[in-house]
Amino acid sequence: MIEEKLSKNVFKKGESPHIQIKNGCGFNMGLKAMVKLCPAGLYREGEDGTVTVSVDGCLECGTCRIICGGEILFWRYPAGGTGVQYRFG
């Protein structure tokens, strides 16, 4: 289970989500692909086919940024001192 894997990591929640899907882009094909590609399994496709992302547990790999691009995603690194903190790396 991916949730179990993510639970091994130290993760510090930030105040606002560092990745957001731009308005009206929820049906984009690249986004749909992310459901399988996000290594943290954070992209979900709803019953109506729209894709949503939740950033809790994000590994900050940037894969969604390079697959979807800046037109679809508002993508930044989380604020300093938040997000995943690797203890091994």
Binding site: I2, C38, Y77
Partner: protein
Amino acid sequence: MEKFSVIVVGAGLAGLACAYTLARGDIDVLVLERGDYAGAKNVTGGRLYVEPVRSLFPELWAKAPLERKITREGFTLVGKEGSVSVELAGGVKVESYSLLRAKFDRWLADQAESAGAMIMTKALVSDLVEENGRIIGVQVEDEVLQADYIVCAEGALSLLAEGVGLHPPVKCENMALGIKEVISISREALEERFLLPPGEGVARLFVGEVTEGNFGGGFLYTNQESISLGLVIACETLTSWRGMEIYKLLDNFKSRPEIAAVIRGGETVEYAAHLVPEGGGKGLLPLYRPGLMVVGDAAGFALNLGFTVRGMDYALASGYYAAQAILKKRPEDYEKLVAASFVAKDFENFRSMRDFLGRERLYAYYPQKIVDFMSDLYTIPAEGKERIFSLLRRHFPWRELWRVWQDFCELRRL
């Protein structure tokens, strides 16, 4: 406002090597790092080749927190069922060590601080600040910090260099996705399972079914008391991915008998993902503009040679060269220093590697074929064994041999 001589963005290997070298040369340098500590955001496979960078920091290596000296090199072709492995043991000539970045980067940050560098963590640089065509500072929250030179060591995504137009946006063709688990296992179990003398380690690479036949592969490195196990998959193949969820691929890898046997009883203590630049193919990116130098992964300095991934030694070296150029008060010479170094030489020599490794047959055809052939070769049926030549011909008919020959000819370009 206080102005620094140099601000380094990113406390990874490239940024820290640069800051350490500058501080030793009595230059005041500030390192800004977005993580809680140096290394908090950094991931590697694996293993550092020390030889190329030994002479750049001769005083560092004796005390560096390296995990194990790699004395066995394994390579495994993975089929749907079964696999074929070769291992080099005893004949490994070059020194390389497994390491864990959170530990190593933190230690290197301590060395830089002792030498006089200032390291500020939990500080995210949101933009580079430009004035009259020169980069003069960085934006951190609502503050601008100024410096004579900014060294951009921000890693693979290279958002800041992209933001000021020095680099084009990172493309899928130039990246691979790495995912990895660190699995804790006792020292004794580890040395027993891998037949290792104390302190020595093994590196193994896997191709074929581990990525469902796609461009990429698996890796395993032994640390002192853990195993680093993961996969690297070219992002180009992700754009038309038909396989399973990426994280399940790693679970499948773990449950294969070749891996399950060596990690049994181990506990996963971390799960990480990171991009790896697959540089080389298109030559070097611009590294310099007035006020700004780009080092490490941010400059695309990583090479996937199939049998090994390299980036850490390039990161350390490029950070060192940027520092040398600043120390000599000729920052524009940084590109020249890189061009004259082993970094540029490697990139030139392995220019065709990326294209060669992109050949689908290397992942989807050969591993399975060789596993099938070996499996038949070792079969002794009740009704009498097939002759070897007929077995060979059955597995490799003329038309196949012709394609194998074509692939072989491609090797000449490497």
